[in-house]
């Protein structure tokens, strides 16, 4: 674009954009920095939601609808799944996305209903603390899990899954 018609694109001198400078900042609806965080959060809720449909539906399908369903779930079942890095990664992604999505949703709800500043601060502090603890705990559990437990004499425990026979001695 040339300088020739710059007058046409620029706002006429003397007319300011709505809610700019003249208005006392304390009456503005939001400041620009928190605005961009909310935008990222809004997009994240939609992207993570779409991913969670697949992650959670497959989780429920493999754990409840195939094999013996709910009766198959025990220590050996978890050991069998987490022996496979695909399921480790699956559960890790599901854990992080579901917790961050859920926490952000809870943050919105706290903002909607808790009217006192101090109540909001308290509720959000508890929320973020709980989220941090659960994400760290869940992540550690996936990666420090030991499926092939042995007794004091070095023999495999009864509930060890079948594949342990090949590794243990």
């Amino acid at each position: 674009m040339t300088a020739a018609n710059s007058e046409a694109v620029l706002p006429a001198k003397g007319i300011e954009a709505p809610r700019s400078g003249r208005i006392d900042p304390k009456y503005l609806r939001s400041n620009p920095s928190s605005g961009s965080f909310e935008m990222v959060a809004w997009v994240f809720m939609r992207v993570s939601g779409a991913a969670l449909v697949v992650l959670i539906f497959v989780h429920l399908f493999t754990n409840l609808l195939v094999g013996e369903g709910i009766h198959q779930i025990d220590f050996a079942f978890v050991a069998g799944k987490w022996a496979n890095p695909v399921w480790q990664f699956w559960d890790l992604t599901m854990l992080w996305l579901a917790m961050l999505h859920g926490t952000n949703g809870m943050r919105t709800i706290i903002n909607d209903y808790a009217e006192k500043d101090s109540t909001r601060l308290w509720l959000k502090s508890i929320l973020y603390l709980a989220t941090t603890v659960i994400i760290i705990l869940g992540t550690l559990v996936i990666f420090t899990f030991e499926p092939c437990l042995v007794d004091d004499a070095g023999n495999l425990m009864d509930y060890a899954p079948a594949f342990c026979e090949n590794i243990a001695n």
Binding site: R46, L52, G69, H71, M99, G105, F145
Partner: protein
């Protein structure tokens, strides 16, 4: 409006379930006995009904969430949002009938009584 209330209530419910669920899964690091004992509770008839309720909440939140995403990103989304709400209800119903039948059948197959 009510779909918004439903989305909110199911979201909160799933969130609290997930907190407990990560804690119960973490028992695999305590001992196999501890894990099996607590997971055993999920096999009680009352919990079976609870699981159907939980899955009902997830399936509603998931389908309605996809509808929200379509309303926001698809050009025709706002025009068809009512029809999509009907589709959410219909899909929810079909999914839940299928899930409940399968879940109950598997439950009775392996049930050893009280």
């Amino acid at each position: 409006m009510w779909s918004w209330v439903g989305h909110r209530i199911t979201g909160v419910g799933i969130f609290f379930f997930l907190l407990v669920h990560v804690l119960d899964t973490s028992l695999v690091r305590v001992s196999p006995e501890a894990y099996d004992a607590v997971i055993g509770a999920y096999k009680h008839p009352i919990m079976i009904m609870g699981e159907i309720g939980l899955v009902g909440a997830i399936v509603f939140h998931a389908f309605n969430g996809l509808r929200i995403i379509l309303v926001d990103f698809w050009k025709q989304g706002t025009r068809y949002h009512r029809q999509m709400l009907w589709a959410v209800m219909a899909l929810w119903f079909v999914t839940m009938v299928a899930f409940s039948i399968r879940h109950l059948m598997l439950f009775f197959d392996g049930w050893e009584g009280f």
